[in-house]
Amino acid sequence: MLRLVKAESFKLSKKLKSWLGPLLIMVLVLIAFPLSIDISQFDLDKFYFSIIIVSLLMTSFVATEGMFEEDFEDGSLEQEFLIEKDFYKLVLSKIFVYVCLIGIPIAFIGALFSFANGVAIGSFAKVFLLLSLSNLLLFNLFAFGNALSINKGAMLGVLSSLPLALPVIILLGTAVRSIQFGDGFAAIITLMIGVGLVMSAIMPLIISAALKTHID
């Protein structure tokens, strides 16, 4: 497992476009969107979270686009199958590395921009935690989509898994309201941690089966 985490971290760190691209998109959207509309600072406070949520969805979508495609194309998946006999550990490692190297920085950028746009300093940690957990859920879902259509252009599968991300967005919206009104945040975060843990355990099994079908 450690071997896979080290290898995936090394590979992702060498693919500048794959990890820096989503971060730049996040920054770009968060800067460009408020500039593109004529709105007062007061109103921006009210819906800036919505911009962050949409940016988060978009960057997660982009970040996971080529998650398994390269390994499928160059034959690395077959080599991994010979070592481990399935892809569970590989998928788990990939999602972990992607969340750490892309998901958490994206969450930090989101929290930073929300603070810069008037969110109280006390809420910074809450926003960061919320966005990090959302990324964990979204990366799992989009990795599944990516694995589904790996031999037909991974973007197609990621698109098809987009409806699965809607409950996460709804949950995120509820959590944002709870931060704004100071009520029920702990319950929502607990729910998200629970869903995140279950998803992190089960989704690699499903993705592993999908990948096996593709190399068969």
């Binding site: 160059d74 080599q79 068969d216």
Partner: protein, 197 residues
């Protein structure tokens, strides 16, 4: 010692049987050269042997559940955006890396070890992929057209390596249109362009 046996292996695509009722065994120190024309199912048979593809009928039985297989197929499984040295570091631990670096030298790739793999020629990339097979210790080596793209010197080096591995008791299964210059059993799958054997 038996490493693997195939019993009545059949593989069909839709209604067309690619091959039918194939049975063979591989013992330690024994080689099997699978021959056949294009589209006769050589690569598919290799993938069935390794458990990557499921046969339509029949059974592949390995006598050790954890049979250690080294495999090189049509895809090199190397990362184009990394240098040859980084590719090797990704694959091997420190002890294995020393062996891999020796092979890198023997293959004349030391000069390009820090360049991007994407910039290497097809033959150089193939050599890099072969280092995985040469370095990893395994009980069975499975190779799909390993000689394609290799120059004469490397092909001889490669044949020498396989002969040495066979003498050490490692099993070998390979497909090749080029004579691998080793003494092994032949399985001819036929096909439209198959050579008589």
């Amino acid at each position: 010692m038996k490493l693997l046996s195939a019993q009545n292996i059949t593989y069909s695509i839709n209604e067309n049987k690619l091959f039918h009722n194939l049975s063979f065994e591989i013992n330690a120190g024994e080689g099997l050269h699978i021959k056949g024309g294009n589209g006769s199912g050589k690569s598919t048979l290799l993938r069935i042997i390794m458990g990557i593809t499921s046969p339509s009928k029949g059974l592949i039985e390995t006598y050790d559940q954890d049979l250690n297989i080294s495999y090189l197929g049509h895809k090199n499984a190397i990362k184009n955006y990394l240098s040859p040295l980084e590719n090797l570091k990704l694959l091997f631990n420190d002890a294995e890396l020393k062996i891999a670096l020796k092979w890198l030298g023997k293959f004349g790739l030391l000069d390009v070890q820090d360049e991007l793999t994407a910039g290497l020629s097809f033959g150089q990339q193939k050599k890099l992929a072969l280092i995985r097979v040469f370095t990893k210790s395994s009980e069975l080596i499975v190779l799909d057209e390993p000689l394609v793209g290799l120059d004469k010197t490397t092909a001889e080096l490669f044949s020498g390596f396989l002969i040495q591995k066979l003498s050490e008791g490692v099993g070998l299964i390979l497909t090749s249109h080029i004579d691998p210059m080793i003494n092994c059993k032949v399985l001819n799958l036929g096909g439209k362009n198959a050579e008589a054997s």
